[in-house]
Symmetry: C2
Subunit: 262 residues, 2 copies
């Protein structure tokens, strides 16, 4: 048996999330397993590093799987991409040790949440950024976000009812990075539209269910003056965030494992 | 009668081009006229600055129209956006003089063509950039592109059979800017993926049919060594470009008029 991992990008707009569900809905895992079955000549079950929700995108999702298939590792991306639909792309394949697990091996995941601050929504970013045409005080947001780096109990930023069965570490996570910056316009916006795309970036050794969307929702309340910046630190001590932003602004940028694969 | 102009953005992926056609296909003009009819209370015919093809996007298209409708100009964007589908957005409305014509008034249009140079296509840019996973010599491209600024007869970069009836100036156009640069990754690519999105930008006082796509096609032949850079200058003297790149990498960035509206 070989143990392999793939790096995967997808446009989440057309998927009911990453994970295979009971109903016959379209999922990233389902598309990957269908393509792998053809390429590997046997049914394959993949484990994803992050179980992204419906509408969430990925530029660096990682999945691992076991297989007896004989296709050389370096040929896997091309073979799979020739079968996959255009909204899922495999960018890398690696052999990994038997103890590796895309979901459970120690790693840092990086998520980014995008806002389109334009007065009217840019039609080209509409599936990748939340249109938010309201005034935001970036200094207040940064004051609030400064409370996040470090090891904290993030239970206040988890969806209600999702914190049972978190294992030994419970709801404690180590956040390595939390920041909020304008993104250069890049390919989707007008050149010169420099303060239009606002990106929240979070890197941590794990995320609770809806954690990024509740963090951004709370930080938008802070930025619009409906909550003081100190509420972010307070919610790490107790209480519960209530506002979660929609899924489509969220993207799993990447997963870095402590051990191979890098 | 009022004479008005609108600035319009659209994701061209879901349209059979800008211009209304005989068959009942979905066009940008058709969607705009439908929304205007409701808002203005009468049937309206719009003239677009650039008649973009199926799949071509716009971040700064301009359209003009006459109407007896009484909605205040400053309320038009919001009123129209509440009726328009999510892939067309009106970002500005202005009153213009009776002699103005979005298509015929003297202007500079700027088009950008995007390439995704990644080994595998980024699924999030797939509708906005041509995947081109081949080696390109940027210096050769820039040597070729340097022939374009200035006043030239661009007949060699027009689709066959499209150059009849061009009016007094025939196929001569003044190109103000022609350049090729990497775009910062922005919202669609991995941070740090700095040499992945290549943008061709052309600004001229008019474009012949398929001119940008034939220019980029020829420059890709130059960049991949299949043609010498001197061929670009030669095609301004005679002969005809043959390779046109697909529509979906193209975007009308903006239109600047000599006279109001700016």
């Amino acid at each position: 048996m070989r143990h392999l991992c793939l790096t995967v990008q997808y446009d989440g707009s057309g998927f009911h999330g990453f994970q295979v569900q009971n109903q016959g809905v379209r999922t990233v895992q389902g598309e990957l397993e269908k393509a792998l079955e053809t390429v590997m000549g046997e049914s394959v079950r993949v484990t994803g590093a992050g179980r992204t929700d419906a509408g969430v995108h990925a530029l660096g999702q990682v999945v691992s799987f076991w297989s007896r298939g004989t296709v050389p590792t370096e040929r896997l991306p091309l073979a799979l991409n020739s079968l996959l639909p255009a909204d899922v792309v495999v960018t890398d394949a690696k052999d990994v040790g038997s103890s590796f697990d895309a979901r459970r091996s120690k790693s840092f995941k990086t998520y980014r949440y995008l806002l389109d601050l334009g007065r009217y929504p840019n039609p080209i970013t509409r599936h990748y950024a939340l249109h938010y045409p309201h005034r935001l005080d970036l200094e207040k947001i940064r004051e609030g976000i400064a409370a996040l780096p470090g090891e904290h109990d993030f239970a206040g930023f988890a969806a209600t009812g999702s914190t049972a069965g978190q294992g030994a570490r419970g709801t404690v996570r180590f956040m390595r990075q939390a920041q909020c910056d304008y993104l250069p316009p890049g390919p989707l916006s007008m050149p010169g539209d420099d303060q239009r795309l606002l990106a929240f970036t979070f890197s941590a050794d794990g995320f609770l269910y809806k954690m990024v969307r509740l963090l951004v929702g709370t930080l938008l309340e802070v930025g619009s003056g409906r909550r003081p910046p100190g509420d972010v630190a307070a919610l790490l001590q107790g209480g519960r965030a209530v506002l979660a932003v929609p899924a489509h602004g969220l993207c799993l940028l990447g997963v870095e494992y402590e051990e191979f694969p890098a």
